[in-house]
Symmetry: C2
Subunit: 193 residues, 2 copies
Amino acid sequence: MKALEERILRDGLTVGTEIVKVDSFLNHQIDTDFLLQLGDEFARIFAGTAPTKILTMESSGISVAMATALSFGRLPVIFAKKTAPSTMVEETYAADVMSFTRGKVSTARVAKKFLAAADRVLIIDDFLAHGEAASGLVEIVRQAGADLVGVGIVIEKAFQGGREKLAPFDCPIAALARIGQIENGQIHFLPAD
Amino acid sequence: MKALEERILRDGLTVGTEIVKVDSFLNHQIDTDFLLQLGDEFARIFAGTAPTKILTMESSGISVAMATALSFGRLPVIFAKKTAPSTMVEETYAADVMSFTRGKVSTARVAKKFLAAADRVLIIDDFLAHGEAASGLVEIVRQAGADLVGVGIVIEKAFQGGREKLAPFDCPIAALARIGQIENGQIHFLPAD
């Protein structure tokens, strides 16, 4: 998605060779107008997959998942929780997820009552890096026995192996921007899906 | 907001005398169509306050903050982060926030570059209980020297003192539903703002 690549080049900040910060529009401050455009793009790419629910991971995935849900005619969004509040007392699907930027493993949970075998689930997240979060979400969809119709990612860091990690699940993956390399502060894109 | 009170009565689950779970539409699964209605209501209540940014707390505030931002003509949303990822390297405003449902204190942070003295900030959150999260957000707005135009809350648990805690800040507070008491599983509402 050309507008996204341009936005990353304009507003993204690189740290070393592995990190690009897009917190001015995606995952700290949210450019809501731009996110609606990302949602429209996911709806275009996954048109025909007939999702019934959008699944994402708290916190950074919520806004783009919501934008996508709106573009699909106001679908429900479910966000997996990485910590269990005392109010979360019911049965859950759960998957362990390693966060490399936070340096710890957390358990992503979704209450069982919100995902059923009849659901067609589109996973949406802000980043695909090592594939930990996405794999955890896929695992939750499998536990529910629901159909996984696709995985939509805003920014893929293709050099960290996330796509390869998802390959065994054999589902359509679409990243709106694919970063192949970060070198001397320069971001090099691969062709998007 | 009558539609919200009806929704809470229909889908909310009470736990004891202090907790009402609304995770089927607000803070785990998100009814995006209904949230747009909540956003419209906040935009109606705070019309004329001319906010430039919507500020909320991760994770549960993000979806309703986004809905409100859309109703205000696609304003930017900022969500305060309760844990600092390794990628958060810049100067931040910060406030300690006690979570009673999680039983711990965390530090809410907003990168300084996203809030300036010229901003007019509308705080939006899903719940007002003891007022910890809202007070932390207000503290962050004050650190930025920005104008606080109001605090919009989806559900206030009026028996937990949050509104009194915010009183010294002398800003308009609007809750779309105000729970006065939970007794024997029955929810009793106070008149909304």
